[in-house]
Symmetry: C2
């Protein structure tokens, strides 16, 4: 896991270097007129798809659906979706349900794009065009470099569809910003020490960073067996906040932008009224997990999730667990 | 909470008695051609919307989007969605973000339907037509009768859009099936006793019952502060299963149908390989939480969630907590 985490700046730089070529290929297949967008994914890739929704909808100005695979694999739902763009994400390109669900959408009129690490996989063969992650073999069970490259792939698809709140200079700066985060392990170590005795944790984000809250919770569950749950700041207020008692740890992701005010209000309120122990991941001096300054909010999920990976990895080591191969998990999960 | 739970058979019977009139009104506003469906909700209503996706997509044969409110309330995303049907759900009809998000979709070309308890609310005034839940005042913070009536409302909208796997006779039988469940409190009491010392819980379902797994976890969090998380059977296998250690309680919802095989396999595997303590809610003699026989899988979420309400209520009492007004929660959550 640590070795694959360390490859992330190079993988991202590689993907960014193919950006214009990918944008051109995506533009060539986008339906005209575009009726809607469907994202097809599971597990970590589903969290990447949640990020995808936040970058794709503003760029394309179209509703973005996260597909419910069982509607197709179990219930054989009829479907009619001409003019839709369907983006299916699978690291291996071999998860049977992802292939099946993309197939159904394409048979129902959608144009298919595959996002995968393996351009020779069934998913890539099926799609009209493929975005190769180029992340190389991922051996550790917890996805790290494939996850950040999936985020980048969605950001690039968004560029193909319309206006986005970042530019070429941000892509150019991102790899070294990631390297800085990766080389600065001490903050994650301290947070991991603080979490050593925790029985549960809530991670929270809003907007673009909601996906990171979900992925952080999954990384912690996978590698440390900690009962961690990810929420959007808004959903957390609708009831789940009841589980937060004195000293309950909350991992809060935020970045300057429209969601920052809501996040600050939430964390202050949680600390004040419920005595929550807040760990902030933000580009701020007082954050327990500092994020790189100057990264646009919409791309901040990439360095932010690296912070979450570090915390999960350090906490696993602290607990004497093997972060590469958590007990009972396998790399490809053959769900139906 | 208990008093409102007890009203559910009557509320459902009332809604079912207005079924044909509602179907007619919905049919009169459905766009032709229909490009897609957007559901707008938060909290418990968002779980009802997840159920909605499973009944609406097969009936309408169109992709169903669960809207991300912050895209509109915080990021002011542009949107173009002519030919979409937008269904917004809010018990009070006054949650500002739900009203705003429906407004944006209607301004972008969608037809709006409001599902609410208050036909005089801003949400109802905005929509082209309103489905009144008729659930009466809900005073307890945890939604119960409004949740089951929202499920029924989505089922009725599905009938307006196309073929559904249930009929009039199923609506006729449902209220008394619910009464039977409500009068049979002993199973929930025993499960609550079993959960008294638990530090966490995972609830799981697949397909139609995935929504119940989510709502069960929310009810438990709200009323008992138990760190409960809901999963689909497929997502649980993708990593989160790592938190399940010996004796960890798993609440599994299933019903005869295409998802039953997957659920049985999952629970057997969890018990065998991880030593999970499985509590089954199913229409089976060996289920700890028996569900009524003869209810079609697609309507089973209604009695199944009543079982979850019972467990949450009994566990709250067992822990000496007040299920009607959990500490720190309010009935209307004014998220932005």
């Amino acid at each position: 896991m640590a070795a694959e985490m360390a490859e992330q700046p190079a993988v991202l730089a590689g993907l960014a270097s193919r950006r214009l070529e990918i944008i051109e290929r995506v533009r060539a297949v986008v339906p005209e007129p575009l009726n809607g967008i469907v994202l097809i994914a599971r597990g970590s890739s589903d969290h990447a798809a949640i990020y995808g929704r936040y970058v794709l909808q503003p760029a394309a100005a179209r509703p973005v659906v996260l597909a419910a695979p069982s509607l197709h694999t179990l219930y054989n739902s009829p479907l009619h979706c001409p003019g839709y763009l369907a983006v299916a994400v699978s690291q291996s390109g071999r998860t049977p349900e992802i292939v099946t669900v993309l197939e159904r959408h394409m048979a129902a009129g959608a144009t298919g794009i595959a996002v995968t690490n393996d351009p020779g996989s069934p998913l890539a063969e099926l799609a009209q065009t493929t975005i190769e992650l180029g992340a190389g073999d991922e051996r550790a069970v917890p996805a790290t470099k494939t996850f950040t490259s999936e985020l980048a792939a969605f950001a690039i698809v968004a560029e193909a569809l319309g206006e986005v709140p970042w530019g070429s200079e941000d892509w150019a700066a991102l790899p070294s910003a990631l390297t800085d985060v990766l080389e600065d392990l001490e903050p994650a170590r301290r947070v991991a020490e603080g979490l050593a005795g925790a029985e549960g944790l809530i991670s929270v984000g809003r907007g673009y960073l909601f996906s990171v809250a979900l992925e952080a919770a999954l990384k912690l569950k996978e590698t440390t067996s900690l009962l961690a749950e990810g929420y959007s700041a808004a959903d957390l207020r609708h009831g789940p906040v009841a589980v937060i008692e004195r000293d309950f740890p909350v991992l809060a992701f935020s970045a300057p932008g429209p969601a920052a005010g809501d996040m600050n209000e939430l964390t202050e309120w949680l600390a004040l009224t419920r005595g929550a122990r807040i760990y902030k991941a933000a580009p701020r001096a007082d954050a327990q997990l500092p994020l790189p300054p100057g990264v646009p909010e919409a791309l901040m999920p990439i360095p932010a999730v690296v912070r979450a990976q570090q915390v999960a990895h350090e906490l696993a080591l602290h607990k004497g667990m093997n972060p590469d191969a958590p007990e009972g998990l396998t790399k490809i999960t053959p769900t139906i």
